[in-house]
Symmetry: C2
């Protein structure tokens, strides 16, 4: 038997699923290619649309969101410091910031060298200052690991926690499928706790405690509790009260809290973002000083949307020094995260200040992106709720809506007979009819007999109304066809 024969490949990897880039997207890529090739050959476009609109993923810059000027100018200079001889090109604060970064990059000032395994120490200090502005207190740079996006850090932490099929990680349902994928890859046990759709996707502690007890009865050792706030795919923002309950639960059960806070700067509703770290620090001493917390941040989201840079960090609280040395070792095996991603994290955490030459432009770019996201979230939310058979919570934060579709029993039965997922068939039809690529709810997990899809709110503002209308028309016709 060959090493890469189907029977020989790691079965945990075969079992792993990741729908965000799964079947729907491969289909979408195929369609896009067909359209382009027809165009090239002067043939008729076989589809009733000109291009696929990718709403399957939070990838803002592919949807025409422009990169922020300030970090790009700095990175450009650091890559080619010759540009420092042409200072008239760049604002003064850009030049100064670039020089600071160059000075941080060891004696030779180049982004081409491996850095400290945890990331450049001066960059980690900027992250600590960013956290201090946010939480009122600063962590130590020794508690910060800069990573290639948030994903790498999340996988490292789960890899450390899981070493047996009975090691359990609690994840919200619906969830971002990196979590289920990583648990499956490392051969752990996935414990689903359900977010309450009827209460704006809040965390229902009764459900949490119930599934915990059920897992323990099965002999599972529960090691991690994942919380995504603001929620992906669900867009909720947790109240401080809800967060305190979660922390108390983790304290009581000695579970490490994994706080996925990558959407912390994407807030559109009335509840402000509060970090788990800040809430933890406000609690009584025995809680504050013991609950193990890992918080994740990424430059891919927020108003910066620099997905391609693969920059992020995780910051730890109450993790003992032995475990920290193991994290250092794991980071070392990859030598370091990519240095330009590290620079991007530093710049996002250390933006222009009032009075700086770049400040007005930076704030203008930032606010116009955030305001546009807010308008798009509201528009899509309102149009989706106009569709008969769709109900959809508002996006209080993050970059997605997760509408629920009420299909007819007739349609559901038909899908079952054909061994198909009702939401997957729906999304595939949407893709082929109007060229909008969304991800079926089954890719994120959903309560039995409920059906959803995730749609990113990212298409350009001049297209979003049209996309919303097309979805409404598609939906109406789809529902009619199946006698809904």
């Amino acid at each position: 038997m060959k090493a890469f024969s189907r029977q020989s490949i790691n079965p945990c990897i075969i079992a792993t699923q990741y729908a965000v880039r799964g079947k729907l997207v491969l289909e979408a890529n195929g369609i896009q290619k067909e359209i382009e090739e027809a165009k090239k050959k002067g043939k008729t476009n076989p589809y009733p649309f000109d291009k696929v609109v990718y709403c399957n993923i939070g990838n803002p810059q592919i949807c025409n969101q422009q990169p922020l000027t300030y970090p790009r100018q700095i990175i450009s200079i650091v890559e080619y410091p010759e540009l420092l001889n042409h200072t008239s090109f760049f604002p003064k604060d850009v030049i100064n910031h670039a020089k600071k970064i160059i000075n941080s990059l060891g004696c030779t000032g180049t982004s081409g060298a491996y850095t400290n395994s945890m990331g450049v120490v001066q960059f980690r200090k900027s992250i600590c200052k960013f956290i201090k502005r946010r939480d009122g207190t600063a962590p130590s740079p020794d508690e910060v690991f800069i990573t290639d996006g948030a994903s790498t850090g999340i996988k490292m932490i789960l890899n450390m926690l899981i070493s047996h099929p009975l090691h359990g990680i609690m994840i919200p349902i619906p969830q971002y499928p990196l979590y289920s994928a990583a648990i499956s890859q490392f051969g752990g046990f996935q414990i689903n706790y359900y977010l309450d759709e009827s209460k704006k996707w809040s965390t229902d502690m009764t459900s949490v405690r119930k599934v915990y007890e059920q897992a323990v009865e099965k002999g599972i050792q529960v090691k991690g509790f994942v919380c995504i706030n603001p929620g992906n795919p669900t867009g909720q923002v947790l109240t401080v009260q809800n967060m305190k309950e979660i922390i108390e639960f983790c304290y009581e059960k000695k579970i490490c809290l994994l706080a996925d806070e990558v959407y912390q700067e994407n807030i559109y509703g009335e509840i402000p973002f509060t970090s788990f770290r800040k809430v933890l620090k406000s609690m009584r001493d025995e809680v504050k000083n013991t609950v193990e917390l890992v918080s994740f941040f990424s430059v891919s989201k927020g108003f910066y949307g620099e997905c391609g840079k693969r920059g992020g960090y995780f910051q730890i609280e109450n993790i003992n020094s032995f475990a920290r040395s193991q994290m250092y070792k794991m980071a070392s095996i990859n030598l370091c995260s990519n240095v330009i991603g590290q620079e991007m994290v530093e710049i996002i955490c250390n933006p222009p200040k009032e009075g700086d030459e770049s400040y007005p432009k930076y704030i203008n770019e930032k606010m116009s992106i955030l305001n546009s996201l807010k308008r798009k979230a509201k528009l899509l939310h309102s149009v989706l709720n106009e569709c008969e058979g769709i109900t959809c919570n508002e996006a209080m934060g993050a970059l997605y809506l997760f509408p629920k579709i009420k299909f007819s029993n007739k349609y559901i039965d038909e899908c079952k007979r054909k061994d198909q997922q009702p939401d997957e068939v729906y999304c595939l039809r949407m893709l082929k009819s109007i060229g909008v690529c969304v991800v079926p709810g089954s890719g994120f997990g959903q309560k039995d007999n409920t059906y959803h899809f995730r749609i990113a709110i990212l298409p350009p503002e001049n297209e979003i109304q049209n996309i919303a209308n097309k979805i409404k028309i598609f939906h109406t016709s789809f529902m009619k066809e199946y006698d809904h």
Copy 2:
């Protein structure tokens, strides 16, 4: 028990070792810090040297190797395309190449978006052309995965092959410790085959077959055979004859060949580099069309030395489409490798051609780096061999020397009594005496009762003679002290 208590952390991770950034380097960092702090406070430097010379790692740009101008100019423009309005700054071919890259990056032309999970398809096409120039035949872009450095790809492949403690991977001893670390992390079985120091570190097929049989007798299922060519830490370059024997062995035993070829452009001796792919393609049909081969490349090494970019690729041969779809899924979970690293791979594989405006400068930079490396390798090799009790093979390629030290029995016994590694004590003493940081042979594996260290040939040319002299003086005094 808390989730991150010592008893709770994944024991495979605790067991993992990675000496290249281990004890010696932490010690070196501490010393460097002490020196800097003494300087700041106006106190006397507690060490007899001004700075630590890091020879522990192949990190050229930290040792003053200047980045190549051509790729840096292109990346700078892609990051901030406003620079295209100042065309007088850049050579024409740089402008054109930058525009091509921008056009490859989706409709929006930005490095800030996630790409295809395998990397930008146009970049993969450039890689295929690079391979064609090297091997005479081109692979398909579907057989190329762009990764964050070579390490990520190597770990992905090993993760797919290992799912049981009896799954074995054959690795050379001495080896680059990423392999032992990854095998340990994934809970597999490490099978050591020995390189023959007396025959210029060539691969001894008798040893290979012997350890294979021993492993099979123990019930091990052998899945992978790792070959590092040019060798790390050993610097050998394999002959085509030796490569054919290795491929025959993999064919016969149905083992996947992992060819670590990241030093393919670092050649200093008479044997030219030949890729395993090229040798495979030259063999008879049943071998050519069946042996599973994965070859790794990195922008961190060669004459480019862009370690911080974390760019690399792996290219596969004879891997079935199911396994390939699993690789695609694994790559998708991390979304994509960092885009600037991808750009760097593309640029290295698609350098200026004769007649292009940048060509003379590019060739000049390339040749002066390669010639300098060659001179440094020869100088260090010759001084080390002058040391009494040291024998050292030449570096035919790569970036390291791996000298053997013959310690006295008295010294070895003393170390054993103190539960110390003789080579580690030696390296630690070297660090504290002369500030040169090297890695003990035990970090790479060595035959029992032999002792080595790995030294990178990277220090700047105006320092290398001085460093070599210091090592010689240190070594002489160390050996004297222990009555050698």
